[in-house]
Symmetry: C2
Subunit: 147 residues, 2 copies
Amino acid sequence: MESHQLRKTPERFSILEEIYTRNDHFDAEELFEDLKNKAQNISRATVYNTLELLHSCDLIKKHQFGKNLAQYEKSYGHKQHDHIICVDCKKVVEFCDPRIQQIQSMMGELLNFKITHHSLNLYGICGTCQMQREKNQVSSSKIQVKR
Amino acid sequence: MESHQLRKTPERFSILEEIYTRNDHFDAEELFEDLKNKAQNISRATVYNTLELLHSCDLIKKHQFGKNLAQYEKSYGHKQHDHIICVDCKKVVEFCDPRIQQIQSMMGELLNFKITHHSLNLYGICGTCQMQREKNQVSSSKIQVKR
DNA sequence: TTGTGTGCAAAAGCTTTGCATGTTG
DNA sequence: CAACATGCAAAGCTTTTGCACACAA
């Protein structure tokens, strides 16, 4: 597993372990905080380095859900999936659809790309937030930029 | 067009005009530089504000192609499309596939989301960079993180 | 006139870097 | 022992904010 040309340091194992006990999406800072709370003395720089490293070995996946912040999740123990993100409450839901694989291989062939991975995000308003919006309908009719 | 609750200022018209004469993807800084070169005295803050504003009126689309930098493109004069990005040279190619619309409406219904838009990016190595890699094959067999 | 947009510079947030030290193979 | 990883703090980049001034409606 680690024999992808990289050294086995305690820091890397700690980080990998922490990631693989998590089941959700997280960012670098959250991971750093969690490790700190567990009395692991790992610096932010190492966290960033290692995330980059694990990402290039395909041990973790990296996402950008619209925000200007990279989020990660483990690669294994989870079947291939994509994401729906609520633009109001930022909730993320996962889904699968086999047609994406078809599109991916078809387009790769057509455009002569060796496709390694993809990212499909659907953005919209979840059920809960739809109700919220209906309730607030009476007030402001202006554009809602933030919440 | 602009009657989406917002004021018609010369700055906004300049920005919108600049965007709609472009046919490629651009980021906030590029747009700011272009406007400055055209002797338009528009500040960075206004560029960012206006991009956000145009985005929420759906006059422009916003992308995050892996980098930690938002890229934009105009919404009209261009049919709906998605992107393939070369992970080596960062080239972006556009493509269309009607199946994505199907996935989008199906998943929206299934998960009770009112989907407003989506983002599908395929990542891989373009033809040119594939050849590059073959040429360099003899040397380093290590992981290539940067180029 | 009045609320809103603008410019400027400073601040904030995420990520990367430089360098001295420590550790792996 | 040599190459590489780490920690720390500083720097870098993109984006946001505060405030005084200007302007559209």
